[in-house]
Amino acid sequence: MRAIEDKTREGETGTCHRRLLPAINPGDVFFFPEGVTGFEHIRGLSVNWGDDTQPFLFLKALIPEDLTFACIDPFLVCPDFEPTIVGSDLKRLGLTHSNQAVFLGIVTLHEDPALATVNLRAPVVLNRRRRIGRQLACGPAIYPLKYPIGHAVCGAYAGHALRKPPIEECANCSASGVCSFYADGACYCDTGKEG
């Protein structure tokens, strides 16, 4: 049990950091040819994060408005997340292959932090090499606009989680005392058991 807990903290944390943070430098500016949906006039956005606000990142508009979107790695929240990038979307981003894409889910915060949600329906997709970004509805349509994140970030960042997860539903995690990922009724701990 101890081993699983350690692997959960180190392994899973390592995974999510490897996926996103090393690919982007804090302060990198991205050109969004069509802004984000509803904010098409905002063409320059920078990606930032701080140690004390991880796992969240911030997509900050340069001009003309003072706007910031809190974001999170969608794969951290939903490990099975499988966005569909079609050929025309790749071209729009100047990518040759979908595995070059970096994904950010825009987070809608809430007064009760446990009710914060992430937009999995339309993530921000970045070409980190060419510093181009777009918000794409890269579905499938089953992914909601409001996917709860409150529980999912708990295990990897236990101790400064948004809310302690309901670990009693997974026999493995309730024994170890920590849940690696728990979102939407499923537990994504190392044993692969469904909660």
Partner: protein, 89 residues
């Protein structure tokens, strides 16, 4: 709103380089084909509006988002005075 009437297989050109073609009409469903430069995104209106509304709810000003997240992360720590330790990646 400009109103044009088209039959199956007829098209409309926008801005000189966007074509919208009526592919078929079956009952009350119209199948439309779009030919446009890759730089132009095309959405069903209800999908566009839903994403737009979600973005509006998500957008924050100044450092409201940073503050809210710091507060939320501190609130659930076992030690309310402990600062979040950065994890090695």
């Amino acid at each position: 709103m400009l109103v044009l009437t088209r039959k199956s297989e007829e098209s409309v050109i926008l801005g000189g380089n966007i074509e919208v073609k009526v592919l078929s009409v079956r009952g009350d469903q119209v199948s439309l084909g779009f030919a446009a430069p890759n730089s132009i995104s095309i959405y069903r209106k209800e999908v566009y509006e839903a994403i737009q509304e979600e973005n509006r709810q998500a957008a924050t000003r100044g450092d409201d988002a940073v503050k809210a997240i710091r507060k939320a992360l501190r609130r659930n720590g076992d030690d309310p005075d402990a600062s979040a330790e950065p994890r090695a990646s």
